[in-house]
Symmetry: C2
Subunit: 512 residues, 2 copies
């Protein structure tokens, strides 16, 4: 009720100005070092670089997990995956996401950003990858989105529609085709029109809401930079960086077109735009299908900086001063809280919210002390506080996997740090100073006063975090071949329903 | 005579406009990744970042050697060290510079940039480190500089004035004191006023030449970012990056003050300014005394990108368009040729000049194909052509040295690439695509058509280079304790002459 009073509808009734539109641009596996403004040597992102020059750049911005699903669940709930259930306990320190076999998804008990914004009068749309569960109860339109164009999972493939179905592409409630069928991705050439389709969906939605004079929340979650990376024909071969760079260029071009539309419609000053990525570049796919984490250690799947430090740009002309850089430790979860405040709402008070309101940072340059937690599964691997990072566990992947050529840190073997056994340091964490040593290559000496002082400060923060932590029910433990996307709603009309196999519950298995 | 006709004096006589002033800002051991505009996460170089925003940034700019002296000799002669003699043949692929024991220096037969500019009517000054030999015949005022404030060698130390003298600081012809004595550097705290002194020298010179309406060439070769790094008190502790960052901040501040003075004096539009560094960041001194090479492999002493790829910014308001990025493969030797052209001169035609005129690049955005050669001693280690780099030899340092903890590539062990034995690949070079793989971590497959095509192109260029190469007399082979800075000119007045030991010629020894 209080929420309603503060909502867009409420404000409009009072003759108050409409709250700003919110446009979240979430990249998939894009790394900190992939943008020109972050130092990518080929400098092929003129539109994003310009967005940064017109807005605020965050060099110290983090995802909530080194993997897609938990990071996205954290963004939309403002809560760590350990709280919202997006983790597995099937093994120690185990990364997990939502494959087609997953039984779980986003719990009904979680309150999602689109749900809250919708109540406040916003028109809401997700374009692209959902990744919060694909069974009917997890459908994005059941969790606050008015519209959806995209897919519930990653565009892995191609599949043969027998052992596994190809992934469905949805428009709103119904499947309208499948990847590699109606929505082709040529894995050999890398050609696909998907980013162009996602761009059109975004532009169309923006135009419609502007015409209707309705505040909008658009969550643009494209996946062209996730392997297998793809780009449309005009962008294929256009990059000095290979196919991955082609995908980046197409996304950069799309962002430019969106910001340009906002200007053309004269709603740039009433639209808050934020650009970031769900996890670090996947160095296992480098160089042709993986991005760059700049000077940071390792990549996706790890809790080193390369796994979770992200490019991040805020843009809101006439509100956020141009050309700023903020060293605020930011989190993807802050986008939840910040968006609510922008909408005139307050974050839910009946649960722990990890996201901060970044408006004082963005509008007044304020800096707030806060920790960044790095989890794998339900294991707290590391924490950053100020300039210092403590590793309680180090672990990349197993020797067995590593010897098969799966390397999360290619060319970056830091002895005793990028370990292939799970090394516990909870009693005597490895500490790094990220200002002097952003690459996590030089652990502080245990005997130094800097180590001692830092450890006491960090220990306090971690104890407080762990003492009050109530883990959510883990959603990513149970798998079942029968729950895959065999026959999504709408499949009958298309004649694309597939018979599911027998239902067999099993523990999900994650290699790392 | 032709030179004179085209010179400043000649042009002035004809009533032609005065040629532009030339200000070269040469850093010492600063890395590609040390500037905010190149992605340094702490973003502490607002003045250099602004300089880039107002000018042209070169992400693909190279020094001529991974070490100080040869790189500086190449800058001032426009010629590779293998041509101008700044190398040693005492061992295979051996790096060398000019320590106090060096007998050699810049040969009289070389024509230096200040010498040519002086003939054309420029007032010329070097501030800071010379490093082209310290015996009387190598004095910068014998090679074209009108003025000098600085030191002939590196500020290594402290010495006890017995086994070795402390390094002299010169004003013009005479020593005016020594490092660690009259010009203190507190190695414990890192405090020194030297950058402030160097700044004042620059500002004063600029003011005087502007008052005299004389075109000037100022070579500002500061060394605060060379270990032991130093900063003055207001900058000590000001950086998030530790003492190295303090030094960078002070230099950034100084550059800001120089550009600001140019604006105040209304000569910004008639002053060409170029900022770069002599070699990559010294990762052996990291993290507290060494900088960052961003995403590039290894650092100083090596012929990987981290050793020779440099930050580079050109600034010339109203001439070089603002906010440009050029992917021209640039070389520090281009500053020789470009400066001559700016002065209305032609480069000497009686010798091979390796530097290109970058004006068509900077003024019209032209791109010119050219190779970049990476030498250690007289060994061609690698070459870059377009986006491809071929390694003919790989080598960091010896196992023996490495086991003692001297590591040019800390945390960056790329198997078969960062080798600790000198590995020959002249028949089948290791090839990398620097656009897709700037970190030189993924050699191309020998079987690929990309490898085959690239190899033929590169082989041709290398053959042409080697077939026509006439190596200069090596200057860095012979050492002698007696030639050290025991009694530089001016020492009598100061009472600071030291007795030299017996003269014994010996082969210089370089560990790597
Ligand atoms: Ca992802
Ligand atoms: Ca140097």
């Amino acid at each position: 009720r209080l929420l309603l009073l503060l909502s867009a509808a409420g404000l409009a009734a009072l003759g108050a100005p409409q709250p700003p539109n919110i446009l979240l641009l979430l990249m998939d596996d894009m790394g900190w070092g992939d943008l020109g403004v972050y130092g990518e040597p080929s400098r092929e992102t003129p539109n994003l670089d310009r967005m940064a020059a017109e807005g605020m750049l965050f060099p110290n911005f983090y995802s909530a997990n080194p993997l897609c699903s938990p990071s996205r669940a954290a963004l939309l709930t403002g809560r760590l995956p350990i709280r919202n259930g997006f983790y597995t306990t099937n093994a120690h320190a185990r990364n997990a996401y939502t494959p087609q076999e997953i039984v779980g998804g986003i719990p009904d008990s979680e309150r999602l950003l689109p749900e809250l914004l919708k109540e406040a009068g916003y028109a809401t749309k997700i374009v692209g990858k959902w990744h919060l569960g694909h069974r009917p109860q997890f459908h994005p339109l059941k969790h606050g989105f008015d519209e959806w164009f995209g897919s519930p999972n990653c565009h892995f493939g191609p599949y043969d529609n027998k052992a596994k179905p190809n992934l469905p592409v949805y428009r709103d409630w119904d499947m309208v085709g499948r990847f590699y069928e109606e929505f082709p991705i040529n894995v050999k050439t890398g050609e696909s029109n998907l980013t162009q389709i996602y761009l059109e969906e975004a532009l169309d939605f923006i135009r419609r809401q502007q015409a209707a004079q309705r505040p909008f929340f658009l969550y643009w979650a494209v996946d062209a930079t996730h392997a297998p990376v793809y780009a449309s024909r005009p962008f294929l071969g256009s990059s000095q960086r290979g196919r991955y760079g082609d995908a980046v260029r197409e996304i950069d071009d799309s962002v430019g077109k969106m910001l340009s539309l906002l200007r053309t419609l004269s709603i740039a000053e009433s639209t808050f735009v934020f650009f970031t990525s769900d996890n670090g570049a996947a160095l296992i796919s480098a160089p042709s299908q993986g991005g760059s984490n700049g000077p940071f250690l390792c990549g996706k799947q790890t809790t080193f900086e390369g796994g979770m430090r992200e490019p991040a740009i805020a843009w809101w002309p006439k509100h956020i001063p141009a050309g700023q850089v903020s060293h605020q430790l930011g989190s993807i979860m802050d986008l939840f809280t910040t968006s609510l405040v922008l909408a005139g709402l307050k974050p839910p008070s009946d649960r722990v919210i990890d996201g901060l309101d970044l408006l004082p940072t963005m509008l007044q340059g304020q800096l707030t002390d806060r920790p960044i937690f790095y989890y794998r599964g339900n294991t707290l691997m590391a924490v950053t506080l100020g300039q210092h990072k403590a590793h309680f566990w180090t672990w990349t992947n197993s020797w067995e996997e590593f010897r098969q050529g799966i390397d999360f840190c290619p060319g970056q073997n830091v002895s005793g740090v990028t370990t292939h056994t799970q090394e516990e340091h909870t009693k005597l964490p490895l500490l790094f100073h990220l200002g002097r040593d952003p690459g996590e290559k030089f652990p502080l000496s245990f005997a130094s006063t800097e180590y001692q002082g830092t450890l006491s400060r960090i220990t306090l923060v971690v104890q407080q975090h762990q003492d009050t932590l109530v883990p959510g029910q883990p959603q990513l433990n149970v798998c079942n071949q029968a729950v895959m996307n065999w026959a999504p709603p709408g499949c009958e009309k298309l004649g694309k329903c597939l018979p599911p196999p027998e239902s067999v519950l099993e523990k999900c298995y994650w290699p790392h």
